[in-house]
Amino acid sequence: MLGFGILKGMSVTLRRFVDTYVGDLGKFPWRYRSRPVYKRMGITERGAFTIQYPEERVAMFPRYRGPLMLLTDPEKGITRCIGCGLCERTCPTESIKVTRAEEKVDDQRVPETYEYDMNTCMFCGFCVQICPQDALGHSPELEMGTYSKGDALILNLDQMLELGRKHAPGGVWPLEKEAEPS
C-alpha cells in the first residue's frame, strides 16, 4: 500500500524520539551530575546518548593510547628508562629522540634528554610494547591542542616524567584503575 512504508518509518523515528526524552527524564538528577562515565548508554538503556563533554568526560580505558609518558619507579624515585633508544629505532615516524646520560644514578642508566614529537606521532604504540624496562606508557591526556606547531608539540624529559607522575603514580602501564560502570 502506497505510503504505508513511510508511515511505518516515521513511527520508528517518532518512537525513538519520544523514547530518548522519556528515558532521559527518568534519570534526571543523575544524568546531569558531572563525573567521568565509563560509557554513556548501554545497548538496552534509553535516554540521551550525548556526553556533555567539557563538564562530563568518558573515563579512558586502561589501554587507551594517548600521548607518551615516562613512568617513574615509585620505590627508587627515578625513571625506569635506561635510555637504550630501542623506542627511537622502532618508531615508524621517527618521533622519538633519546640520548643516554654518562653517569649512572642509583646503579641505573638514565636518559639525559628525551624528545617526543607529537607533530608526527601516529600513536601506534610500538615504542611502549618494545620497551624492555616497561618505562613508557600512554597518558590519557586529551587536551593537547596548541596554537602553534613545532616546539609547542614536542614534549621533553621533564614534561614526560610529569605526565607519568600525574597519570600513573604506581609506575605501571596499562593503567590499573578500571573505570566505574555507569
Binding site: 513511510i6 518509518g9 520508528v12 538496552t44 580505558f61 601516529m122 610500538f126 610494547q129
Partner: protein
C-alpha cells in the same frame, strides 16, 4: 513525436563535494539531466602507501595498513598480517585466530552500517539514519578501544598473533552487542526497506549485470548484489572461516536496492559468525614473542581476504631483508570504482550520487 536534440554539457563535481565520500572528482557529461558519460578522477588522497611500505620494515607496516580503508581498519591489518604469515610460514595461536575473526566480523557490521547510513544520507534523508548507524558504530569502537587502545587505528593484529589478550569486560559486552544486532537491523528494516521513497529511487537504478560485474573485477557486496555468489570466505577459505556456518547473501537484479539488501543480510551473517566465534573461543596464548625486526625468506606472495568492501589483497615481494622489496595493495574500492561509468550512463544526475553511495568507496583505499 520527434526527440529534442540538445547539446551536451560538461560539469565538474568534486573534489570537495559532500557526497563523494572524501576527495574524489567526477567529470560528468550531461544531456539535460541525463548522464551521457562519467569520468572519475582519483588520486587526491594518494599518500604513497606503497613507497612508504618499502621504506618501513615488515613489522612497522601494520599501523599504516589501518589508514588504508579507515572505516574497516581491522580487515586491512588482517589481510597484511595473513600475507606476511603466508610468506614467513608463521602459524598464529588458536585463540588469536578466533579473536581476529571476531574483530574482523565486528568491522564488517560497522562498515555496512556506515555504508547504509551514507546511502540514505545521499538519498536525501539527511543524517537521521546515519545517526542511528553511527550510534552503533560507537559501541563497536568502544570495544576496539577497550581491546587495542584506539578507536579508529587499533594496530591490534601482529604478525603471529594479536598484540594483547581480550580484556575481561570484552566478552560480556561483545555478547550483548551481538545479541542486539538483529534487533537493530529489524528496526532499520522497518524504517527503510518498505519505504516507497527508497524503493522508487533505488529500484532499477545503477544496474550491473553479473557478467559485466565480473568483467570489471568487482568484488564484495557489489558483485554479490548482481547475483554472483562469490565470497572469498567460501570460495577459498582463509584463516579459520571453514569452521563457521554462514550463508552468502546474493541479489538478483544488481541495482542499488539489491546492494542495500545484501549489506543488511551480511550484517546478520556477520553477527552469526561472531556469535559462533565467541562460543568456540579457546583459552591459551595469543601471540608469539614480540620482535623489532624480522626477516622473512625470499619470495613473493599474494594473499587476499574478503574485506567488507570486496577483495583486499596484498602482493608482497621479499628479498630476504628486513624491508619489503615490493608492497602492493590491491584495493577493492579502486577496482570497484571502475564500474561507475557503466552504471551511471542513462540515469539522471541525482542518481549518480546514490550509485556512488551504493558502491561504498573509501578514498583512502582508492588512492592509497
Amino acid at each position: 513525436m520527434t526527440e529534442l536534440k540538445t547539446e551536451t554539457i560538461t560539469i565538474n563535481m568534486g573534489p570537495q563535494h559532500p557526497s563523494t565520500h572524501g576527495v574524489f572528482r567526477l567529470i560528468l557529461t550531461l544531456d539535460g539531466e541525463t548522464v551521457v558519460d562519467v569520468e572519475p578522477v582519483v588520486g587526491y588522497l594518494h599518500r604513497n602507501h606503497e613507497k612508504i611500505g618499502e621504506k618501513n620494515n615488515w613489522i612497522q607496516n601494520t599501523p599504516f595498513t589501518d589508514r588504508l580503508d579507515y572505516i574497516s581498519p581491522m580487515s586491512n591489518e588482517f589481510a597484511y598480517v595473513l600475507a606476511v604469515e603466508k610468506l614467513a610460514e608463521i602459524e598464529p595461536p588458536e585463540r588469536a585466530k578466533y579473536i581476529r575473526i571476531i574483530m574482523v566480523e565486528l568491522n564488517r557490521i560497522v562498515n555496512h552500517m556506515i555504508a547504509v547510513g551514507f546511502l540514505l544520507n545521499e538519498l536525501g534523508c539527511f543524517f537521521t539514519p546515519m545517526f542511528y548507524c553511527l550510534r552503533w558504530r560507537e559501541l563497536v569502537v568502544d570495544l576496539y578501544e577497550m581491546t587495542a587502545g584506539s578507536r579508529m587505528m587499533p594496530n591490534y593484529f601482529w604478525i603471529g598473533g594479536v598484540s594483547a589478550d581480550l580484556p575481561e569486560k570484552f566478552l560480556p559486552e561483545c555478547k550483548e552487542f551481538v545479541d542486539a544486532v538483529p534487533g537493530f537491523i529489524d528496526e532499520l528494516e522497518r524504517l527503510l526497506t518498505d519505504n516507497e521513497i527508497l524503493q522508487m529511487r533505488c529500484r532499477n537504478v545503477g544496474v550491473l549485470p553479473p557478467d559485466v560485474a565480473v568483467e570489471y573485477g568487482c568484488t564484495g557486496p557489489l558483485l554479490r548484489a548482481s547475483g554472483v555468489p562469490y565470497d572469498i570466505r567460501k570460495a577459498e577459505p582463509y584463516s579459520i572461516y571453514d569452521r563457521f556456518d554462514f550463508d552468502i547473501a546474493a541479489g538478483t537484479v544488481g541495482d542499488v536496492l539489491d546492494r542495500y539488501l545484501v549489506r543488511i543480510a551480511e550484517m546478520r551473517q556477520s553477527a552469526k559468525i561472531v556469535e559462533q566465534a565467541l562460543r568456540d573461543l579457546p583459552e591459551g596464548e595469543t601471540a608469539t614473542p614480540k620482535k623489532r625486526k624480522f626477516r622473512p625468506p625470499e619470495g613473493d606472495v599474494y594473499h587476499r581476504i574478503e574485506a567488507p568492501k570486496g577483495e583486499l589483497g596484498f602482493y608482497l615481494v621479499s628479498d630476504g631483508s628486513e624491508n619489503p622489496y615490493r608492497y602492493k595493495i590491491r584495493a577493492p574500492s579502486f577496482v570497484n570504482l571502475q564500474s561507475l561509468p557503466y552504471m551511471c550512463r542513462g540515469h539522471k544526475i541525482a542518481d549518480v550520487v546514490i550509485i556512488i553511495g551504493s558502491i561504498d568507496i573509501t578514498m583512502g583505499e582508492v588512492d592509497r
